[in-house]
């Protein structure tokens, strides 16, 4: 056991020393000159003895160089001529003393006086020249730091009244403990502060006690020790609550660190340049370090680290004959060793530990400087690991190590000719392999091809040299046999002395391109090395998803285990390669081979590993795919008990209790085919899966068998296909929430090219289901898979676009809610029901107004969503939009024909809501659109009562008046209605009724807004053509055209019209228009003049309102006429359109 704390006292206050200084100053001078040692008994002894001259002389040592040095000891002579040996922290009295005794040196202090020269003072535990009467020395715990929990208890509570105090302290600590749980998610700083405050409270409580308080006041050491004791007691009590909070705070850092350390498993001592001399100390140190998490207090852990260092420094047995001080352990050695130990340690929460030791050790102890150093070293080591630079230090496949065993399963290979590299003929076989593997490692595709093709080439060469390919004359025989016996060629089967094939190497270094090449050259995909690792293992271990997918594509077995029973999934989980885990699991949706709950030799499932190292996303993925959270490993640990991270723990607990992820018993999930595969559900869904390929029907059988066995042993509450469907649904919704449109398409069984969605009938119901066994991953885009994807269409077949969650959300709800317009578009294309209501009665349109997305609102309205659906609060989408001040949405909804005057549960209209929330623009828009300003809500309030804004109030009043007049004028409008029908814009943006009312009431506001809307619409969508054309053409062209029109009118128009219409009325109209042509030709801009000849009074008022109106009106020619006259200017259009309208006008005139 290590001395926990060093004794310390101020020697200059020691009575023995004071006596020496005062009475025997000349002796001190002597010792200063000779650089000797003054031995001073510790104060508890010194205060009980009278110092004589003899004592003084016996306690002053001068260096003595005569006589034989016996090695480790320095020899000194007292002033009285007696010999003393000094060895490290021990004094041994030798000749001259009556007895040979050993006295320990408590500490040494070097005294530098004002003058040159110095001497050392040894504070010793006794007197050199005589025994100390024990009873006089009160040795108490008070001056020694407590080293164990028992001592702590003894120190704190042994005195009278201690128990009572303990109870009250416990009470405080218990309430504190509870608060830590709530600190989760807080910053580290506040957690430290909270803990520190508790410590202060605890100290306060203790010092209130008169006995303790008094001792503490007079004895500095006691105070120090008391603090250590209190801290130990407190941390021991709250550790259970506090540490998890710390872990949670730094969980992501720890996971990151773990991922790095897991991936450094191949690290060798030599990679870090650690001297061999320390090798034998590594193991004990590692053992010591593995205990770290067993200590509950920061001090305990600090001592643990200290013991690790002590273990490292232990004198190595084998090196009893040391070479020049090589065994001195400097930081140059310590740091790499610590790095090594941390990487190799199984401690999954280093960052949390570091924080715990750094920030939660409140009491100072005399070891603190040393602890500080160790902590800094650990921090430095962690920092260095985190930089990721160590990876470069590792050379796990050092070329120089490969030179002994060679395995070859050689092909019928040939010949002598040199391999591609120039001097190959002289190279040994080993170096050729090395060279080959080096090319593989570097991904040098061309060189690899060259080497692999060599056998072929050389055999051809030989054939050329032979008399005849089948000849067996001596010469030919010799050639052939040479070719057979030549071993200086490599194949894809060639292995090195670890049993690695080229494919292993390519997988290990992530050379995706070479995988393809090697497999084409007949490499064995599932080749195992001496440890039973396949290339797939290596790819998963190293985290090369591309390689992994390729290997799986080429049929690599995902269930194969290495010598330790690890599947590829184990390795990627342990090393934190989330992408690989996901790829493995997704791929398995087709093959259903993977056993997600496979156990290795230690009984660990992939979930155990992911939980232990805190990879939260992997844990999630595994749980979602049916990993059992209740499985125990050989140490009877469940994933929950291994998890350090609180969040992960919680998930696992939930899953273990079967609450959330899926309530399927592990028994069901563990069989090979798993419960999650898509085809299972298809199969269970019945005849629709008839078109499946053979592999599918086999799976169906397998499923049925399993279902049969399931029914007998099942403890699950759920029908498997039901569970299946539900899980699929969850995935779909997750994809929607994340906005992953590719995945959404996939789940609906669409190709990822969005281009062909709309123009063929590729809807989920009719999608072709084909075998997918050739795919790496549902969404894989590697060469192979892309081909497969193009050739075939994947489909889930059964996922309905209107599937609902248990809160009634359909996919389109979800997409709208998360504002993914692309997915909404997709769903609309898929003919999703856009007016579905969720459990709160909300349609997607409601949600679109909630999230204020004009794009989506517009899409939904155009897709024919019902605008006037009421949700559970009787709110319509318009009311929601209005209360959100979502102006665009309000406009879109009004255009879409939403009822302006619907009321909600409070009797409020959209206008009420808009005004209440001070969205004056929205209110304005509503008023302009004709919302009724005189509706009262259930409290009897008018919209007017909802606002104080004078402008708004004015507008409302104006609108009210308008409404009144409107009702009055209502009766007179019937005649005009018919006429106006003809002026109705083609795309129906403004209802006739509105137009009509507007015209009748001469309402400037409405007209303006109408005109504006018409104008903007036209300019943007239709007139643009005209304008752009116009710019590119010379002005002259227009003039020419104008002329031609004028000159042509008389002659040609008549003919056409007469040919077109045989109606007698038209004859009349033609006659009329003929006469009008003169007018058109002469007048340019005068509308009145232009129109007067028509002689229809009912039309007059329309053009009275404004120039705006009229122009906007005539700018609305039919699309046909636009095509003909696309290069005309506005004025020209005016005229032309009038002309083109003429044929129709008579019908209304008559």
């Amino acid at each position: 056991m290590f001395m926990s704390s060093k004794y310390d006292e101020d020697v200059s206050e020691n009575p023995f020393f004071m006596k020496l200084m005062s009475s025997y100053a000349e002796l001190i001078e002597k010792v200063t000159v000779a650089e000797g040692i003054v031995c001073v008994p510790k104060i508890s002894i010194a205060s009980h003895i009278a110092v004589t001259r003899e004592d003084a002389e016996d306690h002053i040592l001068l260096p003595f160089t005569e006589g034989s040095e016996d090695g480790a000891n320095e020899v000194f002579k007292t002033l009285s001529g007696k010999l003393v040996h000094v060895n490290k922290d021990k004094l041994t009295t030798k000749s001259g003393f009556q007895i040979s005794a050993e006295i320990s040196v408590l500490f040494a202090e070097t005294f530098h006086g004002d003058v040159n020269g110095s001497y050392r003072v040894f504070c010793i535990d006794g007197l050199i020249n005589r025994e100390v009467e024990k009873d006089k020395v009160q040795s108490s715990l008070k001056n020694v730091s407590p080293t164990s929990y028992v001592q702590v208890l003894d120190m704190l509570w042994s005195h009278s009244g201690g128990q009572k105090m303990r109870e009250s302290l416990d009470k405080i600590l218990n309430t504190f403990a509870a608060t830590y749980d709530r600190l989760e998610g807080e910053s580290l700083r506040s957690i430290v502060d909270a803990a520190n405050a508790h410590f202060a409270k605890a100290m306060q409580l203790l010092l209130k006690d008169s006995v303790v308080g008094k001792s503490a006041r007079y004895n500095h050491h006691y105070m120090e020790n008391l603090k250590v004791a209190v801290e130990t007691y407190m941390m021991n009590a709250v550790h259970k609550h506090l540490f998890p909070v710390i872990i949670a705070t730094v969980a992501s850092q720890d996971a990151e660190l773990n991922k790095i350390t897991r991936n450094l498993r191949d690290l060798q001592l030599s990679d870090l340049g650690i001297r061999k001399i320390f090798n034998e100390n590594i193991l004990p140190a590692k053992k010591e370090l593995s205990q770290l998490n067993r200590y509950s207090t920061p001090v305990g852990r600090l001592f643990c680290i200290k013991r690790v260092v002590a273990a490292l420094t232990k004198a190595p047995r084998l090196f009893s004959v040391t070479r020049d001080g090589t065994a001195m352990m400097t930081s140059d050695d310590l740091l790499p060793i610590l790095i090594f130990l941390i990487i190799k340690s199984e401690v999954p929460n280093w960052m949390a530990n570091l924080v715990y030791m750094q920030h939660f050790h409140f009491a100072k102890s005399s070891d603190d400087d040393e602890f500080g150093f160790y902590l800094a070293s650990i921090e430095a080591a962690l920092e260095h690991i985190k930089t990721g630079n160590i990876k470069e230090d590792i050379k796990p496949l050092k070329r120089d190590r490969w030179n002994t065993v060679i395995l070859t399963e050689s092909m019928e290979t040939p010949n002598t000719p040199p391999s591609p590299a120039s001097s190959a003929s002289t190279q040994s076989y080993n170096s050729i392999i090395d060279e080959f593997f080096k090319y593989v490692q570097e991904g040098d595709e061309r060189a690899v091809i060259q080497m692999l093709e060599q056998p072929q080439k050389s055999s051809e060469e030989i054939t050329m040299k032979m008399c005849h390919p089948l000849c067996s004359c001596d010469r030919c025989d010799k050639l052939v046999s040479e070719l057979r016996t030549n071993s200086k060629l490599v194949t894809a089967y060639t292995r090195d002395n670890k049993g690695y094939t080229a494919l292993h190497i390519a997988a290990y270094y992530g050379q995706g391109l070479l995988i393809d090449l090697l497999v084409k050259n007949h490499a064995v995909v599932d080749a195992t090395d001496y440890l039973g690792l396949t290339p797939l293992h290596l790819a998963c271990q190293r985290g090369y998803q591309n390689v992994m997918l390729l290997l799986v594509h080429f049929g690599a077995d995902t269930t194969v285990t290495d010598n330790e029973g690890n599947t590829p999934l184990h390795l990627s989980c342990a090393n934190g390669h989330e992408d690989c885990v996901k790829a493995l699991v997704f791929y398995d949706a087709y093959t259903k081979k993977l056993n997600i709950n496979a156990t290795n030799e230690l009984g660990n499932t992939p979930l155990h590993l992911a939980a232990k190292w805190g990879y939260d996303n992997i844990v999630k993925t595994l749980l979602e795919n049916g990993a059992g959270a209740n499985i125990r490993n050989k140490k009877q640990q469940t994933p929950v008990s291994l998890a350090q991270n609180v969040v992960v723990q919680r998930w696992l607990q939930v899953a273990a209790e079967g609450l959330d992820f899926h309530p399927i018993s592990p028994h069901f999930v563990s069989p090979k085919s798993g419960a999650r595969s898509r085809s299972s559900s298809i199969a269970s869904a019945g005849p629709s899966s008839n078109s499946h390929s053979d592999s599918h029907s086999k799976e169906v059988e397998a499923f049925n068998q399993e279902a049969a066995c399931f029914s007998t042993v099942s403890v699950s509450l759920e029908d498997p296909s039901e569970a299946e469907r539900r899980r699929k649904k969850e995935r779909l919704f997750k994809a929607i929430i994340e906005g992953d449109i590719q995945l959404v398409k996939f789940y609906f069984g669409l190709q990822s090219d969005s281009g062909d969605i709309d123009d063929d009938d590729d809807l989920p119901g009719s999608a072709v289901v084909t075998s997918s066994s050739g795919m790496c991953h549902p969404l894989c885009q590697c060469d192979k898979c892309a081909a497969v994807q193009k050739a075939t269409r994947k489909s889930s077949g059964k996922m309905s676009v209107d599937v609902k969650t248990n809160t009634g959300y359909s996919p389109i709800h979800m997409a709208v809610l998360h504002n993914h317009s692309d997915i909404v578009e997709l769903l609309i294309l898929l003919k999703a029901n856009v007016s579905l209501q969720n459990h709160k009665g909300m349609t997607p349109l409601h949600l679109a107004c909630c999230v204020r997305s004009s794009l989506i609102t517009d899409m939904l309205v155009k897709a024919g969503a019902k605008t006037d659906v009421k949700d559970m609060n009787s709110d319509t989408a318009l009311i929601i939009a209005a209360s959100n001040g979502f102006l665009n949405g309000v406009q879109i909804l009004i255009k879409g024909g939403a009822d302006l005057n619907m009321t909600n549960i409070k009797g409020n209209t959209a206008l009420h809501e808009a005004l209440r929330r001070k969205h004056s623009q929205t209110a304005n828009c509503l008023l302009a659109a004709g919302a009724n300003p005189r509706m009262k809500n259930f409290q009897g309030k008018l919209p007017l009562d909802e606002t104080n804004d004078p402008v708004m109030r004015g507008l409302i009043v104006a609108a009210s008046f308008r409404l009144e007049e409107e009702t009055k004028a209502q009766q007179n409008t019937n005649a005009n209605k018919q006429i106006l029908t003809d002026f109705k814009p083609e795309n129906g943006h403004i209802s006739i009724k509105e137009l009509f009312a507007a015209f009748e009431e001469k309402d400037l506001h409405t007209l303006q807004s109408l005109a504006a809307s018409i104008r903007t619409f036209d300019r943007k969508s239709k007139l643009r053509k005209t304008v752009t054309h116009d710019h590119s053409l010379p002005r002259l062209d227009g003039l020419v055209r104008k002329h031609s029109i004028l000159s042509f009118n008389k002659n040609t128009l008549r003919k056409v019209r007469s040919v077109d219409k045989a109606d007698p009325l038209h004859v009349y109209s033609l006659f009329k228009s003929n006469s009008m042509d003169h007018v058109v030709g002469n007048s340019n801009n005068n509308n009145d003049e232009l129109l007067t000849p028509m002689g229809d009074n009912s039309l007059l008022p329309i053009f009275d309102y404004s120039e705006d109106m009229s122009r906007s009106y005539v700018n609305l020619p039919s699309s046909d006429s636009l095509e003909n006259e696309s290069s005309m200017t506005d004025d020209q259009i005016q005229k032309k359109s009038v002309e083109t309208e003429m044929p129709d006008s008579p019908s209304c005139c008559s």
Binding site: V121, M223, F373
Partner: protein, 215 residues
Amino acid sequence: MASAGGAAGGGRNLNFKVVLLGEGCVGKTSLVLRYVENKFNDKHITTLQASFLNKKLNIGGKRVNLAIWDTAGQERFHALGPIYYRDSNGAILVYDITDEDSFQKVKNWVKELRRMLGQDVCLCIAGNKTDLEKNRNVTVAEAEAYAASVGAKHFHTSAKMGKGIEDLFLDLSKSMIEKSEEGVAKGRPGSTRKSQVLVVDDSTEEPPPKSGCCG
């Protein structure tokens, strides 16, 4: 954590953190081992924990406790320097007089320390291995001129012969005492040494009862 400057120690006990910096083989560790244990490379040393050492001094009645931190000299660990030297009161920069490169390293360290710790840290530059004077590659004049230019003391040491080491540490201790007394006088002990290094010094977090009772 090393408490800064001993301001809390009631005036008589001073705790100083001294960090040793220098390239791998310049003999930092030998230097400190010679100082603390009075040992050098002799055949009797077995395994010694030499990366952290304590030394108690009594200088003119002031008790000084030196916590001497050795640092890893390998270039690849250079970036970890701040973890070691933060909060240190003094730094000893060691170079090998036969190795010009190691002197360049010292210059780099000095720059870095001044940048990170400012003027609060006392610097000493030690030209070690003076027993190999005949192989000297760094001239005395150059070294001393450089030391003076950056406000550091320069010492010639030999860990092997045990020369100059006592002086080095004594002088460093004295200047650290001065510095800490300056700090006390200004009423802001060690106040300039903050925030440049992220980790919070625990010594500032001690609960109130302690300071009230340890007088």
